[in-house]
Amino acid sequence: MDFLTLKGIQHTYFTVSSATTALKDISLEVKEGEFVSFLGPSGCGKTTLLSIIAGLIQPTNGKVLLENKPVNRAENDIGYMLQQDYLFPWKTIEENILLGLKINRSLDDHKREQTLSLLRQMGLQNVEADYPKQLSGGMRQRVALVRTLATEPKLLMLDEPFSALDFQTKLKLEDLVSNTLKRFNKTAILVTHDIGEAIAMSDRIILFSASPGTIHKSFPVPSELKKRPPFAARNHPLFNDLFNLIWKELESLEPE
């Protein structure tokens, strides 16, 4: 039995002047503990698909099953990380990371201690009482990761979480996020348009083609790359081979 199953997802946006089909015939299975990347040109409906999996949007057609059940937002099955950190500027770091637990009323001393210790494991000491604007971009995104993990979601969704960061910070965070997810054996879906990031972090890469968004091709990442942390994987000879393969495939998708 698969952990996450998408069956024939189709989604159409309606406006006064048009009906745009953003996604068509998306069927997909993800195993528990697997890290999958969605790669594709902009406008291929990747973010829409994430919102559908998270249960934020109802698809026009099709079903999403998590452990054979529909997704339940109230039970925090799903953690969602956005392009920017979206830490609440009027809340302290501690209030921010405990927000999810507060929302679903499961905050207790044990969970609080657990979350604060996770913050320290991310290399953030003595920032609990600070406000987000006192932290750098990389630190803020780490805080956002702690906030997402605090509710112990079964499935983690990362919507281009490193795209707003500088390259060096991004590489460091890739390693940190990858290690953290492996350690907790979390299943994750990463949306990106950075081929290198997709190869370095994931077990499987799914290439989307645009208008309407469909699954074009799926690339398994060789185990030599999978077992290495992202930064080391980038230096492996197999990395370039896969990079070129996906690059060519993406080129062929570009409209003339």
Partner: protein, 270 residues
């Protein structure tokens, strides 16, 4: 070492310049104040302007002393002040609640949109006579007037700021399974807090207008009554005294709200 000294010297020079400028501004402000009252006094004494109509600072001061001693100024002032404070607090709270209601129900906000525009454009003080007949010629109708002038504009401004909150904050909360009520409490309201405080500043001025006009109409107590009474008995010294007192207290109230704003908005947000 040498360079350090030079930087220090330049900094001292900069601070000195800053102080000089500040002194100049303060001095000019004071000069305008003194010149204005001196010219007024002289012009009135020499009959260049009609002393019956424009009075003079010295006679206003004498009236101020006598009205202060017999307690009538303090009594009228305290009535007007409490009406204004009540009016603008109720106006701001009610406006914020209405804005919350509109945010809660997008259909309701679409339905009410043209009515809000009309109500906002209409001069609310024109409703004064109806209010006085409905609520009686007492404090309640004056407070209602102070509230009425500020409530609609507060609703519109605060509702606009509710709508402008970044939807991604809501998305974060929704992925945690937040209800609409929790979204409002955790994101919408705190994000709009600076706007609510700044409408408070606008409402201070508006409520003074509502209350003074209300007192004109009811003509029983307060600074507005003092103005209308002075006008009727042709005592313009009384009118001008009331005006000056209003100016001083409206400024004080504005400063107080600004102080409150600094205290409340300093933490984290923006």
């Amino acid at each position: 070492m040498n360079q350090n000294n030079e930087v220090k010297l330049l900094h001292e020079h900069y601070l000195k310049e800053l102080k000089r400028e500040k002194r100049l501004v303060r001095f000019s402000q004071l000069l305008i104040f003194i010149l204005f009252f001196a010219c007024w006094e002289t012009a009135s004494k020499n009959q260049w302007i009609d002393p019956l109509l424009f009075s003079s600072p010295s006679s206003i001061w004498n009236l101020f002393i006598s009205k202060s001693l017999d307690g009538s100024l303090a009594a009228n002032l305290s009535i007007t002040l409490s009406e204004t404070v009540l009016g603008f607090i109720i106006g701001t709270l009610l406006g914020t609640c209405l804005a919350a209601l509109l945010w809660w129900s997008p259909i309701l906000s679409k339905v009410l949109d043209p009515y809000l525009v009309i109500l906002n454009a209409m001069p609310k003080v024109a409703l004064g006579p109806i209010l006085i007949v409905a609520l009686g010629p007492n404090m309640a109708s004056i407070v209602a007037m102070g509230t009425l002038v500020s409530v609609i504009i507060t609703t519109i401004v605060v509702y606009t700021s509710f709508k402008e909150v970044d939807p991604n904050f809501i998305k974060v909360l929704q992925t945690f399974g937040a209800t609409r009520r929790q979204c409002f409490k955790e994101a919408i309201l705190p994000a709009s807090f600076p706007t609510i405080i700044s409408t408070l500043k606008v409402n201070v001025g508006l409520s003074w207008v509502g209350v003074i006009v209300g007192e004109f109409l009811v003509s029983a107590k307060g600074l507005g009554y003092m103005i209308i009474y002075g006008f009727q008995v042709f005592d313009f010294t009384l009118v001008l005294l009331s005006l000056l007192v209003i100016a001083v207290f409206a400024t004080l109230m504005y400063q107080l709200v600004e102080l409150l704003e600094k205290k409340l908005v300093k933490n984290g947000s923006r």
